[in-house]
Amino acid sequence: MANLNLVQAINLALIQEMEKNDGIVLLGEDIGVNGGVFRVTEGLQKRFGNARVFDTPLAESGIIGLSIGMAMGGLHPVPEIQFDGFLGPAYDQLVSHAARMRSRTRGAYTVPMTVRVPVGGGIHAPELHSESPEAIYAHTPGLKVVMPSSPYDAKGLLVACLREPDPVIFFEPKRIYRAIREEVPEDEYTLPLGKARVVCEGTELTIVSWGASVVQCMQAIEKSERSIELIDLRTIYPFDVDAVAESVSKTGRCVIVHEAPLTCGFGAEISARIMERCFLQLEAPVQRVAGFDTTMPYYKMELEYLPDAPRVSRAIEDCLAY
């Protein structure tokens, strides 16, 4: 057991799985000697050699396209896309090939790969370094989308991804890369994809969130005297609708919190599912605390955009008062 932050937990997961499976190969921009701009792959090239951890030319579509071929050829590539905003150039390869390969070949070819992407705002980064595009990929059949909110979860979820036979986008909330430390077992463990975690139990209201926003939700809950249940989705797709429905059926009230823009954010899907599953149990309309349908502002104003504990607290109050 070691006290690790999220970066260290991911690094540890990579090391342990690479030692077990020589088909895992890491590639991306600046991930070798430099260890990645966030140092997530620190020391891995030295440890595993240039054939297993290598830098590519600066081209995201190329990174994903190459990875698709590597996966079809029997490896489990782990491409790193340096920042969320740079997923754009890789979109075609992800959506037109990675996501469809198993289906369009009826299983003859598959693309087992784990795309690692630092995600979200809150670190005073330049333009296009603070985006939250998870809903776009959750909307793409054939992909899985994962976003941990703690070092422990990051390790367990990443190990699960590295054993997945299908392509996964593993979003790493950069705002909490180093903000939280917790005990992370050295021993092997996995957390199943598609299973949410009840962070804390409660009876009066359910909060559903994921990624860095979970931390904001915790702060709001700690300030509240009401009995609030917090669900961390962990996996955006497959979506653990049962966990959400079970909780909301019990509490009758739900607040969804995410950084991504409101319209068509994954909160919209959750809200629709709650209506279908818990309509008769609902005591109040489902509420959302989300980013806005604006371009993600530059860092001077980013805290105005990102959902924070006070906004979550107000949503809790209003939803309970309904």
Partner: protein
């Protein structure tokens, strides 16, 4: 300071058997043994015939949109003939001849265009990837497939095909750049057929050749007459030997011509002159080999008649296999979405004849709940 030359090169053009029947003995002698030449010719005739069959199937409503290969048979065939059986063939959609030579069943290609994904289930032992539809994306896969082979210590290269139009795509550049900087043994074959639907090749490159595109990646580049089977064989031999030996990529432009429309949904008369098409008909790759073989007493009209008869039977058998494949069960398209279908998708599948509330009928009124349950039970019955 005097101005110096930083880089200088030339692009060579290879032609061995031209459209007048002239044969370059120096380059061509012994390149293709007679027995093989006969087989290759037969393969081109069979491919051309299947093109005609497919065209008629489309016109009679038995097949969806189909892109004819007509005129380009010698490009992919020359490559497939030279490559080893376990070298990757990573193609677009006008390389039927090479794929059939590799052993890909004809019905696989037919099924694809008949709107059935099972046509893409390319048998693994053929080392041929499924038809790639978004233009210019598959060359990166060729690089990845070969990198994986190299990583595993296998002596395997890839040959990837794309058109003059696809070479305008960004992924083309990325694939060339990745293969050359990361030292991945890929033979890039650009089929310049002069037309990307209605866009002339001059709108896709303003350079004198497409071959020189490869120069900026440090690749050896070659332009060949793509309607000359001898030249495509020669070029692929050169390229694959270089690639295999050095682990570095090689770039070939095969100059050919799309004799047919882009697809059966296209009408090329809207944008190109018949005179141009007629001129290229005179440079037909199949006719060239036929005349060559007749001159060398390898072929005659009796053999031709027997071949056509045999090809007609084989192709109609392939069509029958494609058409007679059992219709998939109604929810088959769910099956291969993931190795293990997520629970939510299982519910969507089993309730596909109802609506999202029907997926969890607990909140429906009693009567509707019962109906939803019955429909779901019926839908899920075969699983």
């Amino acid at each position: 300071m005097p101005i110096t030359t930083a880089f200088e090169t030339k692009i060579e053009h290879i032609s061995i058997l031209d459209d007048k029947g002239n044969f370059d003995e120096k380059l061509g002698k012994g390149l293709i043994p007679d027995a093989d030449l006969v087989k290759l010719y037969e393969a081109m005739v069979a491919c051309r015939h299947l093109d005609e069959v497919a065209f008629r199937l489309q016109r009679s409503g038995r097949m969806g949109t189909y892109p004819q290969n007509m005129g380009q048979e010698a490009t992919s065939l020359g490559a497939a003939y030279v490559l080893r059986k376990d070298d990757w063939l990573v193609t677009c959609y006008r390389e039927n001849c090479g794929l059939f030579w590799r052993g890909v069943p004809k019905e696989a290609i037919l099924l694809h265009w008949m709107g059935d994904e099972r046509g893409n289930a390319m048998p693994r032992p053929h080392f041929a990837t499924p038809i790639a539809v978004p233009l210019g994306t598959q060359m990166l896969h060729a690089a990845g497939l070969t990198l994986a082979a190299k990583y595993r210590g296998l002596d395997r290269i890839a040959c990837t095909f794309f058109g003059d139009g696809a070479s305008s795509e960004g992924d083309f550049h990325e694939a060339c750049n990745f293969a050359s900087t990361l030292e991945i043994p890929v033979v890039f074959v650009l089929q310049n057929n002069f037309w990307a639907i209605s866009t002339p090749s001059t709108r896709n490159s303003a350079a004198p050749t497409f071959a020189q595109r490869g120069l900026s990646y440090g690749m050896p580049c070659l332009q060949v007459d793509g309607n000359d089977l001898f030249a495509t064989v020669y070029a692929t031999k050169l390229a694959s030997e270089y690639t295999r030996k050095t682990n570095k990529p090689y770039f070939i432009e095969m100059v050919t011509y799309r004799l047919g429309d882009h697809t059966t949904a296209d009408d090329a008369k809207r944008y190109r002159e018949q005179a141009e098409v007629d001129m290229w008909k005179g440079r037909d790759p199949i006719m060239r080999i036929k005349n060559f073989m007749i001159a060398r007493k390898l072929w005659d009209e009796t053999k031709e008649a027997a071949l056509l008869e045999r090809v007609a039977v084989e192709n109609s058998e392939a069509v029958a296999r494609a058409e007679n494949i059992a219709t998939p069960h109604h929810d088959e398209f769910f099956d291969a979405m993931y190795e293990v279908l997520p629970a939510d998708l299982v519910i969507q599948r089993d309730t596909m004849h109802t609506h999202s509330l029907g997926q969890d009928p607990s909140q429906l009124p009693a009567e509707a709940r019962e109906r939803a349950a019955q429909m779901s039970a019926a839908a899920a019955n075969h699983h």
